[in-house]
Symmetry: D2
Subunit: 287 residues, 4 copies
């Protein structure tokens, strides 16, 4: 029998880093979670335990902190690229770097140095960089929970022997949007891009009269691609957070889409992507 090493990568996950910039009395805050994964000449470490090709995960963590000081943290995509390029360009044994960052939002309370965490969506990015200089940037968000209290129907589906669901002409449609969008280029104004994509997602969700969550998903993706030229592909995972109409008839009450039970599990799960026909090859962007 011959056994071989398959795909592999290693790194430091979830380095929690807060960067403060003091502009006189006014402070600025970045609150991020950095995960780096490296790959390359890793046969030896797996087969013999020799670490000669291994840049320790502890060093990866240190580098994130040191770079936060040296270069600051502005847009997470740029900071991720900085780290990815450093690992690959400085270490011959490291051929590929993947850096993922989450960013948590804060709003000012008052004065210059007091903040309250905005618990809404988390901004995300995943970048890749390899020793041939190939680069990919995927931006994203997760936990953006949205709900339409009407303008959603569901009917006309397949009915088989296990189907008991009744068609509806008016239901609540709710989901927690997780979206990731691929940039055509590794350079850009990622801050403005993020704000505009987020708004496009919200707008399309609100403005789409929905006959299925898939339709809503596609409309959201299409809206982003139509309004943001820098984005060439977008992918979604959207749970259908079911809100079931409660049967109040036993209590002599009608329920005209007024009282709902918000269920936990099971839930529908819709996954899908929208892309430009001429989108460049994704290579490793989605890994």
């Amino acid at each position: 029998m011959s056994v071989i090493l398959g795909p592999n990568r290693y790194g430091k996950a979830e380095t929690r880093l807060v960067r403060v910039v003091r502009d006189g009395e006014v402070h600025h805050l970045k609150d991020i979670n950095v995960s780096s994964s490296l790959s390359g000449e890793m046969e030896s470490v797996h087969l013999t335990g020799s670490n000669a090709a291994v840049l320790p995960t502890d060093t990866q963590k240190n580098t994130a902190y040191a770079f936060a000081k040296k270069y600051g943290v502005d847009q997470i995509e740029d900071f991720a690229l900085l780290l990815a390029r450093h690992f690959v360009d400085s270490q011959p044994t490291i051929h590929h770097a993947r850096v993922e960052i989450e960013e948590y939002g804060w709003e000012r309370i008052s004065g210059g140095h007091s903040f309250v965490r905005s618990g809404r969506e988390v901004r995300t990015c995943v970048v890749h960089y390899d020793r041939d200089g190939r680069t990919s940037v995927v931006s994203g968000l997760k936990d953006l929970v949205v709900l339409n209290s009407t303008d959603s129907e569901f009917h006309g589906y397949i009915v088989d022997e296990y189907t008991t669901l009744q068609p509806t002409g008016d239901r609540i449609l709710a989901t927690a949007v997780a979206a990731q969008w691929r940039h055509a280029s590794a350079t850009g104004e990622f801050g403005k891009s993020y704000a505009d994509v987020r708004q496009a997602l919200l707008d399309a969700f609100a403005e789409t009269y929905s006959l299925s969550l898939q339709q809503t998903l596609y409309a959201m993706g299409r809206r982003v691609l139509e309004t943001r030229q820098e984005v060439c592909e977008i992918r979604f995972a959207m749970p259908n957070k079911h809100h079931f109409l409660v049967d109040l008839a036993p209590f002599g009450l009608d329920n005209d889409n007024e009282v709902f039970y918000a269920a936990d599990r099971p839930y529908g799960l819709i996954e899908g992507g929208v892309l430009r026909e001429d989108a460049p090859d994704a290579a490793f962007a989605w890994e």
Copy 2:
């Protein structure tokens, strides 16, 4: 040996309920989580399994849904009182009801029926009502995460043989505020009261130059009591969410309160209350 039944209560926990009010094209949304606990003549059910005195937890759930339809859901304190009074007043075997409600905030996206969940703090309440008509109302919030990036010191503490902490004249102070405040009366404008207390908490946190998290806690409580006459007592549980300054000296870099490691565990935990000297007796309010 003689064994007896001690304190007990039972109920339905975490009934997730969404109430929509349709005002023409404009919809209003209430998203709550209701938990009721009843007690009374419960010797038999424990000792013999006779359920003759038991209002099923399933019925408690149904009642929450039916009442949401019949009476609507405006302020959670009022809705909780409605339920508590119903259970006690309608069932002779139920002598006491405790109803706890969490409310999740939503903001409008656009149009009249599209919403995005505001993931910030959760609004809470706990009410009690017993067959003697005694009533208590405690409002609250949790997961209000706040941070001051300066104006916080910590020094002058006890130093014993196990103390290694160095005093600091400038640190990040961050916490996730969980606060509950007791109303002097069971009637009130709970919506306005909540908004004002929340603001008072944020203001006091932001405006307090802190020598200890205890001092900040007390200042927050004092601010609430000074500005909101309807509140007679407030209690807090505030974790000290440590942000440790990263040592960048090994990399030839200084770190003048710029780069921090946000730690998970362990964390400081400060619990304390502030009350009026003449606050009425709390009775069962905090149970």
Copy 3:
């Protein structure tokens, strides 16, 4: 207006500590989570920010680690008492200590130093000690998930206008036991006691033909008090983890207690205690 400081305490929560004892080739492992809370002369720190009476939470953490080395960690109750007494006896400003410990179980894989975590229940304790020497010890467990697939009925309950539940003569009864039991004395063989209480809880759950979860709870408490003389009181919080019979009639199938939907929320929640008639006063034991 006169505002005063109410009850308060502070400490270090969730110090994760692993203690290894090397007995030649055979290693022994203790994996615990320590939380200490101190109170005493804390007026000044709240009102003025003076930390002169404050033993830092960082020092509390250090003490846990140092004591783990000095004294080892055998039974968590004993280790908690050691810490509690140290804080109060060594610091005049600290009048009361509460120490809570969770312990995570591990089993040997093979050889002397390889372990697999037993993810079942978590063992717990809470001890109190004050400067008058008063001491309390409460042991416990949580997340002990148990299920009877028959021998559970539910009927004979109150039926009001909001009751739709149908009585049943055979259902699944499942719960996640959280139990805490108070020792009559602060000294004892806590390891053996824990093992025996745990077994008594399992036995009573398995052997009780149940007409209500309350009855099962009481039977479990009674069994512990009958078999363990050192325990004077026990308290439970037991969610009724509903397993609903799935209606398979639309598919031409019967369902004789064979296929169930395990629901998340809402759930019943049964809380209650059992104690000896002559149990000593609990004082602060349950705080």
Copy 4:
């Protein structure tokens, strides 16, 4: 601009299902969590909202329950295949099904119908089936937490300007194993296979003197492939659950690998696979 639909799938996630088999007084229990995802002719539902090709997620849930009754639930791989084949074979618009199942273990307490949940690892599987009859079966487990208290070193790694980690000749090595292994065939004795793979993983973890977590990972994968002919590839994600030696020198104490701080974040994350050189093509098995 031309925008197109990318890869997509939809289904019902996390259908919690408990199946009881009554063999006289002795009951048998299966506790599973089923997630199905279908794909096929889904252009219309995305672009126009027509559900004519859509088998509702609610029906997918119903089917899981009905099949549990009709066919029972023995090995999760077989049950997943049954569902996957049904969806594809019965619906012309469904070209591909992916079914994922988690199984939670229970042990008997005593008697025939009382069980306690074994909270250790979760058993998993993912199967695929398409209308060309192509089939893949991946079995797995997650949350298998293991620890070696010695026989682990880490040194000889790259040292760059950001490296501060000190080499060690003796450390704790701990991880939570998540492993998935691909079967060469879609038929097999999955129950015995699972038990043997699990044991091989534990044995290899315990018996490997480790110079890096990568080495341990590879040894575990190799052991499985060497002992289980039905497995052609295995993949791991293994966090390095750091246990840091606490510095007790300030307290005049040494710490010869006795007292550790178990850290949460950040953590190392090692991902990698091991496969037979002649393993058949994976196709969609890992999707």
